[in-house]
Amino acid sequence: MPSYNAPVRDMLFVMYDVLNMDAYKDLEGFGEATPDVVSAILDEGAKITQEVLQPINLSGDEEGCHLANGVVTPPKGFKEAYKQYIEGGWGGLTGDPEYGGQGLPYVLGVAMNEMCCSANFGFSMYPGLTHGAIDAIEQHGSKEQQEMYLPKLISGEWAGTMNLTEAQAGTDLGLIRTKASPQPDGTYLVSGTKIFISAGEHDMSENIIHLVLARLPDAPTGTQGISLFIVPKFLVNPDGSLGARNKVVCSRLEEKMGIHSNATCVMNFEDAVGYLIGQPNKGLRAMFTMMNAARLGVAVQGYSMSEVAYQNAVAYSKDRLQMRALTGPKAPDKPADPIIVHPDIRRNLLTARAFNEGARAMAYWTALQVDIARRHPDATERQKAEDLLGLLTPVAKAYFTDMGFLTSSMCLQCFGGHGYIREWGVEQFVRDARIAMIYEGANGIQALDLVGRKLPANNGRALMEVFFPEIGGFCEQAAADPELAPFATAVLGALEHLVDAGQWLMENGMKNRDNAGAAATDYLYIMALTTLGYMWIRQVKAAKAKLAAGEGDPQFLNSKVILAKFFVERMLPDTAAHLAKIKGGADTLMALPAEAF
């Protein structure tokens, strides 16, 4: 049976020693989040995720969800765990205090999401999707809609979903056909079929609030004609009590590769009563504003799987005796050495860990931009944070989930044949991790979003005026410090590759769009590696400062330095390869005619 220990110490190190969250205490919600309170919250969050969610992870995967007479039942223990989760108030961590939330920093929400996901990916999506609905209603709903839906969504008594995909409309939402007909009373009747709806139907909450993309009768074709609707499972009376069952039902559960404990539903809407949210025909834009947050949530899923896979691979590698170390026996009293003596096992483990801890720092840094963008009094600071968030979100989503799958698989490799056997639990992490590369915008789409939308936005302002000065400035300063110089020099090298790749894109991507499409993923990888490198220097700097002050656990802090070295020596060099691939252009990729495939 796999186990999970929430990495609370590393979370606190990132928040306070690396990102210096104390410096933001004037931001709304940060004042309450003093280090002692944050530490208590993370400790209690760790407890509920380790003791309530983790024990039903493997069993939930094996059992899956059940559909009978339109009612979906999640696996055994999920309903009770969900009850405990919402009674503990965890759903309201970052929610608006006006509607019963705690209003705590988004950074903390990301940390809690990480623990839930490492402990039980499938479970974490039920409250996770609710957050998406909360975001949409907070940002686009009318005051009345907010008052009607937010308190119960924030408390978790009601759950939320996002209904976007249809059979013919996946990545290309412009192809959506679901219809919404206006009624004399101002409501709409929504009809159509949505697929791949995570947490679309279940019996864990009193009500489910579906956010549904649909077309008005006179809507223009394509993405300009899509509107967003609230469609509750049970209609809500003006006094807040539940009324009639709405005509939205789950007609099928998908059989899938992973996340078996989360219900992936086909949802049929047949003249279901809906309420327009935001402006007519502006639904996609409304969806997109909440997508940054949702995509960051998926990014976190990537490294959360890698984290739990890593923890279990380490335990196995210290325990499993096979072969002798190449340099001679390390455990002569035993029949063989534990496999952790072998360099290749360490390559697997350290790749996962250098990624996990780099990604955690980058995820929290990105989340901090969400807080700054939403709460900072200074408009310039808000804009800088928005710019950075725009760039970092697709990078984190694609890179973290690609890597999360890869490194979970590397951790499985440490188990040898046992890794492929179900009862060890590590194969579930690999299967579960796979979805995060696909949903919430496939990773190829994230790369196009970065290269085609985020880079050129506002004449490249985010990259030129925020990203480069932030990382370049920090590295140049760090290069003057003999202890940080080797790391800074390496990251400055990666930054040069990023500049070089950008220039190549400017010169070649405009005249042939396929060149941009062919370069997008590699460009995203260079940016991810550079940002992770930056995060690693900041971690080294913080670790060295604590060591010099005689604070903290020396082994934990010294490990940071070794991991940063590993990252610089064995992961960061990939930027050169990605640059070379970019410069290969699109010609060869496009050379074969389709029929030659």
Binding site: A40, Q84, Q102
Partner: protein
Amino acid sequence: MKLLVAVKRVVDYNVNVRSKSDGTGPDIANAKMSMNPFDEVAIEEAVRLKEAGKATEIVAVSMGLKACEETIRTAMAMGADRGILVETDAQLQPLAVAKVLKALVAKEQPQAVLLGKQAIDDDCNQTGQMLAALLGWAQGTFLSKLEVGDGKAIVIREVDGGLETDEIKLPAVLTVDLRLNEPRFVKLPNIMKAKKKPLEVIKPADLGVDVDPRLAYSNFRDPPKRQAGIKVKTVAELVEKLKNEAKVI
């Protein structure tokens, strides 16, 4: 009824503690610290008594370094109404703790003191008994069940070979065992509320208590490493080894 509950900050039960190389004590410099699990049970029981309308106020007390405030905050997040930290960097031994608690009883006038039957760091299992003796109160130790009535309590004690049911007079010192209850998960809003609950910090001298250690520890060392086993060929050989090598029969 007012309850005083003592909570101790100890090394977390998940930490594998080793002794310092010079043998002067356990090496816990960077270890994760938590509330003593037995004391968690004591707090939980107090909160249940309050929820059942039998207790009116719960005061959580701890003693030691400033960091013990965190342990008191946890107790308040679980449901204690306020806290008292007796702050000292002295090495606290059971007798000193019992004396401090006695002084706090004089100050607070509770009808019962609840505490864990022992702490998982030193495993002393002495403080509650010493406190009862110092106060001249009844004591109910190793409790797996507690029913509070009018001026008395019915307790079930876990004793060697079974359970013992006693009726004891209040006020009393009650030390609890793990089977008494299962402590709740702390709720997020209660963590936030705990921050605002009153926490008084005083010094042992304010209570007129001398907390100087009475016992000197001479040496700490790890238990001997377990040796690899061997297979014996006959029962006779086994008996011989048990007699002469292991010297257990």
